[in-house]
């Protein structure tokens, strides 16, 4: 769609070799030894101005962790996050707080992310009060009303509370709150997963519209690939904390390379009465502790229909294959295969 323009736009966010982990408490009261469970295993990507990048992965793949690490809401073990040329990991808490004005987030559960005891007007004005304490009341009101209009809500919602609204409306309010400070980066963590299909579409188009109008850089996190082409320019497929494939949407959808990407695409149900769902072999070990044992080779090898001996022994690196990044030993062969079909 806009491959060419992506390249010419300046990169605003650059993430290199990011590794993150969460503490898991082990041992008893006296001999407490802290273990850490690693979630992200070296994730690198960049995001240009006014570009929309989708981060897609199953539950537990580390999407939300990635978003939180980028926004500095989580300590990073290793790697680098730089925002407009400046490293974010070296900043003090206060400096980071000021940077965060530029980066805002929208969450999955619209109702839960809005304070139930505050009116919508107060919720929207709060960020302004925090960052611009001297802003005149008239100006604040002006800005709040303008924002409401922008997300397609009427001014009479200002004096009401979040529970009076449906999921879709709450998500509009959450988007308005995120945009009220004029951020440059908007991170949306599964913004439509909790919504009805009919309402999903509204929110997706609203986000697309705002992203274009405000020249926002957008990180869109989701758990399936169905909605991505309607909103994003590029897509990253994440599996157990590693990037499997990263490519322009056009390319990825017309010719998915990584077997995992293919499985994700095949799993999307089609609204077609003649289509039958195929089984996608789900994880062999289905227990909660899945991320503890990682195979020495390719992490997808235990589910991959094309698995070879090499996949079990050697971990593939993410590498450039014909204008896309893939982490598979047999990317070229798989591409040639689908070329000939």
């Amino acid at each position: 769609m806009n491959t060419a323009s992506t390249d010419s736009r300046p990169v605003v966010l650059k993430v290199t070799e990011l590794q993150c982990s969460y503490p898991v408490h082990g041992g008893g009261l006296l001999r407490r030894h802290e273990q850490r469970q690693q979630i992200l295993h070296g994730v690198s990507f960049d995001l240009a101005r006014a570009e929309a990048l989708a981060i897609i992965g199953e539950s537990g793949s580390g999407k939300t962790t990635l978003a939180r690490a980028v926004l500095g809401l989580l300590p990073v073990d290793h790697g680098e996050v730089s925002w407009r040329g400046e490293s974010l990991l070296q900043l003090s808490a206060e400096e980071m707080r000021l940077r965060r004005r530029d980066m805002q987030m929208v969450f999955q559960d619209p109702q839960a992310s809005l304070n139930p005891r505050m009116t919508i007007g107060d919720i929207l004005a709060e960020p302004l009060h925090t960052f611009y304490p001297n802003m005149a009341a008239v100006q604040v009101r002006e800005r709040v009303r303008g924002m409401l209009k922008m997300v397609g809500l009427l001014p009479h919602v200002l004096n009401r509370y979040a529970h009076e609204f449906s999921g879709g409306q709450c998500q509009r309010i959450a988007i308005a709150r995120a945009l009220i400070l004029n951020p440059r980066l908007l991170v949306c963590d599964e913004p439509v997963s909790a919504l009805d299909v009919s309402i999903q579409a509204q929110i997706i188009y609203l986000l697309k519209d705002l992203q274009r109008k405000l020249q926002l850089s957008l990180l869109f996190i989701g758990h399936d690939l169905a909605l991505v082409p309607y909103l994003c320019d590029r897509v990253m497929v994440l599996y157990m904390g590693e990037i499997m494939e990263l490519a322009d949407c056009d390319r990825l959808y017309s010719q998915p390379v990584h077997p995992y990407t293919r499985a994700m695409l095949a799993a999307i149900p089609r609204p077609d009465p003649d289509w039958r769902p195929e089984s996608v072999t789900t994880r062999a070990h289905d227990t909660r502790s899945s991320s503890e044992e990682r195979p020495p080779g390719c992490i997808f090898s235990d589910r991959c229909p094309h698995v070879q001996q090499r996949c079990l022994e050697e971990r593939p690196r993410l590498r450039q294959v014909r204008r896309r990044q893939v982490s598979c030993h047999f990317a070229e062969a798989l591409m040639a295969d689908s070329d000939s079909n």
Binding site: V24, H25, G26, G27, G28, L29, L30
Partner: protein, 311 residues
């Protein structure tokens, strides 16, 4: 499990130390001394007595001497009951207190849980209202009011039971146990009812109903564990409440239990006796709480005592 228990016991040592220290110094703060009551005492004799019991030494020294004793589980001689050690007094009074307290606790739990479950299953039914009003009453009437009423009724009016005193016979135990158990029954009933109502609304109870299980099986198989968990957590405080309650009850019914010794000891500034009873009960409560935690872990499979993560 065993390792957890050992660790818990080890970590209880600082708690116990704090308890001993506080009790030791607090009782010394109270005015008067152990030998005040016997006014005929000449200064020389008092001096001798003080020397005998090391009461003439500076307080810190006494404190450490006492700690040393405790380490050997020796609570020392009683100041008041001559020729008796505190250990002997505890050995004599505790079985009585344990019988009354233990039976009261048991009765409180059984009756409370039964009443609570019944009320929950008949929620907003007249039976529920009746039981819960009774529970409310049971909670609000203090023991020193309830006990005389029971005595008037069963001992004086009907003459079925003795009004006080102690023998190892059921007649003598009934009224004290009833008085002691009453607030417990009431509280446990309310606790059980609330948690049972909540549990009966959960998804997995709905699943059980969708399986076609009859109500009694739903309760006996699916609901009782989660519904009783709050009661299990309450066991610790309940035991403490029973111990406190028994002090009053034993006084009212003139029962020679540990509580009576304790009250007597406190009035007479019998330092060693009071300290001994306090520490003994302290240890008991710590042990009891440990048992409760083990019980809780056994009931809730989501809890892993050895690796305490998350929960």
């Amino acid at each position: 499990m065993l390792r957890y228990a050992l660790e818990r016991l080890l970590t209880a040592i600082p708690t116990l130390l704090l308890l001993i220290t506080l009790a030791f110094f607090l009782i010394r703060l109270a005015p008067g001394g152990p030998f005040d009551a016997e006014r005929a005492l000449s200064p020389e004799i008092e001096q001798n007595l003080n020397q005998l019991y090391h009461l003439d030494e500076p307080l810190p020294l006494q404190y450490f001497r006492y700690l040393g004793q405790i380490l050997r589980l020796d609570f020392g001689p009683s100041f008041q009951y001559r020729d008796w050690t505190v250990n002997q007094l505890i050995a004599q009074g505790f079985p009585v207190s344990l019988t009354i307290g233990g039976l009261a606790l048991l009765l409180g739990l059984l009756a409370g849980v039964l009443i609570g479950m019944l009320a929950a299953l008949r929620q907003n039914h007249w039976l529920d209202y009746l039981l819960m009003s009774l529970a409310m009453a049971g909670l609000s009437i203090p023991a020193f009011v309830l006990a005389p009423i029971l005595v008037l009724l069963f001992a004086v009016h009907f003459g079925w039971l003795p009004a006080g005193g102690w023998e190892w016979r059921l007649q003598y135990m009934l009224l004290p146990i009833l008085t002691l158990a009453m607030p417990l029954v009431a509280y446990v009933a309310r606790l059980t009812r609330a948690s049972m109502i909540e549990v009966m609304r959960t998804g997995f109870i709905r699943t059980a109903r969708a399986k076609g299980l009859p109500l009694h099986q739903i309760v006996l198989r699916h609901a009782w564990k989660p519904a009783l968990l709050p009661v299990v957590s309450y066991l610790g405080p309940a035991a403490a409440a029973v111990i406190t309650g028994s002090v009053v009850i034993e006084k009212i019914f003139t029962i020679p239990g540990l509580g009576t010794y304790f009250v007597q000891g406190a009035l007479n500034r019998d330092y060693t006796l009071v300290l001994g009873v306090v520490i003994f009960y302290g240890m008991l409560i710590i042990l009891f709480n440990l048992l409760v935690d083990l019980l809780y872990a056994w009931m809730d499979p989501q809890i892993h005592l050895d690796s305490r993560e998350g929960y």
